[in-house]
Subunit: 149 residues, 2 copies
């Protein structure tokens, strides 16, 4: 019924150090320990960790996951807050898609204009160095750029 952190890792696909990190970050509760001080887990932990992993895969941030987990603990509450978190995240993803779309268009245009000659005449290089050049519509590119990864 009880199992080790390695077994939990195998069951959920989350790496061992990451599980410990989640505990330190407050996403997972502090695990009870064996006599020798090793963490012991049960079925509920595996479920919680799976929940966390899926939420991460869907791009939810730890803060949002913490909220979702807190809400999960109160099954009788209205799920409108859950909904709100998910919708907020959806909007965020949509914004990112739009921003990347503008990027793609700009890159495409840049590449299309290249005459495949010398570097000195390259439109790609020219566009990048252009002082006038700006892709953002609302000045969000400067914020968005580091986040594009």
């Amino acid at each position: 019924m009880e199992f080790s952190i390695g077994e939990l890792s195998r069951r959920t696909g989350v790496k061992v150090p990451t599980i410990r990190y989640y505990e330190a970050a407050g996403l997972m509760p502090p695990a009870p320990r064996s006599e020798g001080g090793q963490r012991r887990y049960g079925r509920a932990d595996a479920e919680r960790l799976t929940f966390i992993r899926h939420a991460r895969e869907l791009g939810f941030e730890p803060d949002a996951i913490r909220e979702l987990l807190a809400l999960t603990a109160e099954p009788d509450r209205s799920c409108s807050e859950v909904d709100a978190i998910a919708v907020r995240h959806l909007r965020d993803v949509e914004r990112r898609i739009a921003s990347l779309g503008r990027l793609r268009d700009e890159l495409g245009r840049m590449i299309a204009e290249c005459s495949h000659g010398r570097v000195g005449d390259c439109r790609v290089i020219e566009t990048l160095g252009d002082h006038q050049h700006c892709i953002s519509e609302h000045g969000d590119a400067r914020e968005a750029a580091p986040a594009l990864r």
Copy 2:
């Protein structure tokens, strides 16, 4: 003709500490110094920094920017390498858009299925906790997720 780091910052829109960071990171050359040890810049530096900023806004990574800058220094070379870097980056952006698109669909479905009742019955919560659940088509979601920010 020569100006300070603050002036360079004003001209390019790149923050002062970031300029120093770029120098340390090898994107900007070590700036010549005044008698008192302060960095002095010229027009070429402003252009290079503008180039870097635009490339960053377009999501090019420092490594790619370094390559592009190295190529810019040899105007007589064929710009096919420049092209290759840009195309590679475009593909990357397209992959990211596709991945985010799947995410958006999944989130949308999740939210649509929610009956707006109790947390205990919430499909959003259920979906996240589901062991079977998996959004990736080629197992790339696990890699992509942390990079989505």
